[in-house]
């Protein structure tokens, strides 16, 4: 198990987190770190606790043990709206855009923040629409009328409107056509170039290896292994061990 | 083994409580004797409500209707049939509340949760308005007054009720009802009710005819509530529309929550706690008014601090006094 090169200044640190759903012990001592501007992947089979890890970081479920640090400060127990305001954005597994709100209104939930000038809002929107012209076309349409791929774009775009320092991305390519998958790949690169960190949960191995710098492997509710993406390849035995059927 | 010991403890405790309640009227002054009897009667009403709230998971604000119909039913028997017959009064009262219960039961099967609660509330108001305005039959605002029947079997042997023997009669009815209800809730029927409360969809999916169970639950609840109404009529010798007003239903629910829902005994404890607090506060304020020279305070309504206590209990002690005691004892 070769150690990857030292991570840049840590943005999010998860230490020994245990989370329960009722009586189910889902997270069994998860520890990981994401540095400033890094793209880090979290992979594993279905049900190992990847989504729950993201939800715990975001304050959607409470950890019963362990802690989560953001920029060195403990954030466990803080409500998610405070976390969104200090720079953590969340794009959930089923997108969960506001179906009855228009595309613009969905984006506005992220844009309408304290201390953001109208000019800046315009800037953010224009930049987003440049990457996702389809969203611009459909800006007056209700979110529920968009296709799966467009909803994913909207979910990511909405998170980007928060100008976050890190985005928690849960299975963005699930159920998408290959063309859309490469668009997602591009947007991850764009975000990375802008200095936004990403904690990416994904089943798509090639995308994961191309887009991220480091990979955490989860099994049985804990991180079991950790490697630099550069050292891995699609048919690496480790991949089979943690992701194979 | 634990169950057996549990049962032993239960019966011992039950016997002690009954013994105390039996002795009470012999040692207490009249006012407190009546107070205790009232607690028992309201306790029975609250217990009947617990069947719905605590066991089947259906909040009802309509118990004032069952109670009121029981009361007026008994009044009807005592006023129309001479000489006034105790057992007929009970039968009429139960019939009255059963009729209302059937009506409510029908709707209980088609409505869930909040809709059911609101609808029972509105129904109890309808009954209130009907009773209030149908002056010829119900005496309207003034209600109906009647004399207390004699205890015994008419034709064979009867004896008038004394203050004490009435208390014992009420105690017997309430204790008997408690035992019956306890038997029912511990039976397979009771288990199904609880599973309806926990997860109705699942219970239905497993194959139980949930609607039928709900109807029986409502009928059961209504009958015992009506019985409480009959007892109240016997105790106080009048029936008035005030008791059909929905606030009474609300107070019943308060007894349930204060005592602990789903415990059967809890509601009786809750009734005692509420009525006791009410007595205490009604005396406290006039006292404070004179001591602190604030004459306004004398009339300060007891429901304000009582309401605050209730709200605090809903937030901090949702398991009620009994639940709190249970946890405290288990520590």
């Amino acid at each position: 198990m070769s150690s990857p090169s030292p991570a840049p200044e840590p943005l999010i640190v998860v230490e020994g987190v245990h989370t329960y759903y009722g009586k189910s012990h889902i997270l069994n001592g998860v520890s990981l770190a994401v540095g400033r501007g890094e793209v880090v992947a979290l992979v594993g089979r279905n049900g190992v606790g990847k989504s729950t890890t993201l939800k715990t970081i975001m304050g959607i479920v409470d950890a019963s043990q362990g802690r989560v640090l953001y920029q060195g400060q403990p954030i466990s127990g803080l409500p998610s709206h405070k976390l969104a305001r200090i720079g953590i954005a969340y794009v959930p597994e089923d997108r969960r855009i506001f179906r009855l709100l228009t595309v613009m209104e969905n984006l506005r939930t992220g844009l309408d923040r304290h201390g953001v000038s109208e000019a800046r809002k315009r800037q953010l929107l224009d930049k987003l629409f440049a990457y996702f012209p389809r969203l611009a076309e459909r800006r007056g349409q209700a979110g529920g009328t968009l296709s799966g791929g467009e909803q994913q774009m909207l979910a990511i775009g909405r998170a980007m409107m928060l100008e976050p320092k890190i985005i928690l991305l849960d299975e963005p390519t699930e159920g998408l056509m290959p063309r859309m998958v490469s668009q997602i790949r591009q947007i991850i690169d764009v975000l990375h170039n802008d200095g936004v960190a990403i904690l990416l949960v994904e089943q798509n191995v090639p995308l994961t290896l191309q887009a991220s710098q480091r990979v955490y492997f989860m099994e049985k509710g804990a991180v079991q292994h950790h490697a630099a993406a550069a050292e891995l390849s699609v048919d690496h035995p480790i991949i089979h061990k943690y992701l194979g059927v | 083994m634990i169950l057996k010991r549990h049962a032993g403890v239960f019966w011992a405790g039950f016997a002690v409580v009954i013994a105390l309640l039996l002795l009470a009227p012999l040692v207490l002054p009249e006012f407190w004797r009546r107070f205790l009897t009232e607690i028992l009667i309201w306790g029975l009403l609250a217990m009947s409500s617990d069947i719905l709230i605590g066991y089947t998971g259906m909040v009802s604000f309509g118990h004032s209707a069952f109670f009121g119909l029981g009361m007026y039913g008994a009044a009807a028997a005592l006023l129309t049939v001479k000489p006034p017959n105790l057992w007929l009064a009970i039968v009429y009262g139960l019939a009255g509340s059963a009729a209302v219960a059937l009506f409510v039961a029908y709707f209980s099967t088609r409505l869930r949760d909040i809709y059911f609660a609101i609808t029972t509330l509105i129904f109890s108001q309808i009954f209130y308005v009907v009773i209030l305005t149908w002056t010829d039959v119900t005496g309207g605002e003034n209600g109906l007054a009647f004399s207390r029947p004699r205890f015994g079997i008419p034709g064979l042997w009867t004896t008038p009720f004394t203050s004490t023997s009435l208390h014992w009669f009420v105690l017997a009815v309430v204790a008997g009802s408690y035992l019956v209800l306890r038997r029912i809730t511990h039976s397979p029927f009771g288990m199904v009710l609880q599973s309806i409360r926990e997860n109705e969809a699942r219970t239905r999916a497993v194959g139980y005819p949930v609607e039928r169970y709900k109807i029986v639950a409502v009928m059961l609840s209504g009958l015992f509530a009506g019985l409480a109404g009959v007892l109240y009529a016997l105790q106080n010798r009048f029936a008035a529309p005030d008791f059909v007003y929905f606030v009474v239903s609300g107070e019943v629910v308060i007894f349930n929550v204060m005592g602990g829902i789903g415990t059967l005994v809890g509601p009786i404890v809750g009734a005692g706690f509420f009525l006791g607090l009410r007595e205490g506060l009604s005396r406290l304020f006039p006292y404070l008014a004179t001591t602190l020279h604030l004459p306004n305070l004398a009339e300060f309504p007891y429901l304000v601090p009582l309401g605050v206590v209730f709200i605090a209990m809903v937030i901090f002690m949702p398991q009620g006094l009994l639940g709190f005691a249970k946890r405290w004892l288990n520590r």
């Binding site: 975001m58 506001f98 939930t109 928060l162 | 709707f107 305005t133 308060i254 709200i311």
Partner: protein, 290 residues
């Protein structure tokens, strides 16, 4: 039989006027339910307190409009306070507990009002008297004003929800509370704000309605029952539905009171409720459920 046309016309207009006030009260109730899943039993008491605040302010300043504004503001603030203290801790618990808590609040408010203001009804003087000619009859201007103001407030509410930043927040919170919070929307405060708005609307209704009847501590009870009937008949959480239902029910009651006493008129609304529950339980004015 002689058809009492003038009475029918008057009652129609009365029905619409009362209906608009009922709509204002019911909108607040359905808003609170639709967004927070809270059945606010204390809504009638907020109405009643609004009316009393109106009485007090009117007595102090002599200005009806000031009374209307201050009553709305004060009760809205009280509503916010109540929500933060009693309802926020109950978030996520069985809805039974919010019903109980609001019921407790209604008892406290009602009895407090009884003690504070006494059992004798107070009067709010209407801001102007005078009547206008409706067909061949005389009808008071003030009542027309009530209807218009209520309509304006409801209209304002609708616009506020549709546009406006807070409106988007409210709608997002209603659709997906978890994601709304994840997007930085302070959901607990949205709930407080919505409750305050509902309370303010109830208070305004109380002040507007004050001149028509006496203001006393039990006035809330009738209104809360009627409002609940309206909300169920109109469809829980359905703003347009509750407005339509309010007018419908008020008209029926207005007509009924030609022949029966007003307290019996509630039986009419109750029959409508029963029929609705039997045949269209999701609401009369809601499109047929799938």
């Amino acid at each position: 039989m002689q058809i009492p046309w003038d009475i029918i016309i008057i009652q129609t207009v009365n029905g619409v006027v009362t209906g608009m006030i009922l709509a204002l009260v019911a909108s607040g109730l359905t808003l609170i339910f639709g967004i927070m899943d809270v059945v606010n039993f204390a809504h009638g008491e907020l109405f009643m307190l609004g009316a009393y605040m109106g009485v007090v302010t009117l007595a102090a300043t002599g200005n009806f409009w000031l009374a209307l504004l201050s009553a709305t503001a004060i009760v809205a603030l009280l509503g916010a306070l109540l929500q933060v203290v009693t309802l926020r801790p109950l978030l996520g618990r069985d809805p039974l507990y919010t019903i109980l808590a609001t019921f407790g609040i209604s008892l406290v408010l009602q009895n407090y009002a009884l003690w504070q203001f006494g059992p004798v009804a107070r009067k709010i003087q209407e801001p102007f008297s005078g009547q206008f000619t409706l067909f061949y009859l005389q009808y008071p201007w003030y009542r027309l004003l009530i209807a218009l103001l209520s309509a304006a407030m409801i209209g304002g509410l609708y616009l506020f929800l549709k546009y406006g930043r807070f409106g988007v927040w409210i709608r997002a919170t209603t659709q997906d509370r978890v994601m709304a919070q994840a997007m930085g929307i302070p959901v607990p405060w949205v709930h407080t704000g919505v409750f305050a708005m509902g309370a303010g609307m109830a208070a305004a209704s109380g002040v507007l309605f004050g001149p028509l009847v006496g203001v006393n501590h039990t006035m809330g009870l009738d209104w809360v029952l009627k409002a609940f009937i309206v909300v169920v008949v109109g469809g829980m959480g359905n703003l347009v539905g509750s407005i339509a239902a309010s007018i419908f029910i008020s008209l029926l009651e207005a007509y009924a009171s030609i022949w029966v006493s007003p307290s019996q008129a509630i039986i009419v609304s109750s029959i409508v409720l029963i029929l609705t529950l039997l045949f269209r339980p999701t609401g009369l004015f809601v499109p047929t459920p799938k």
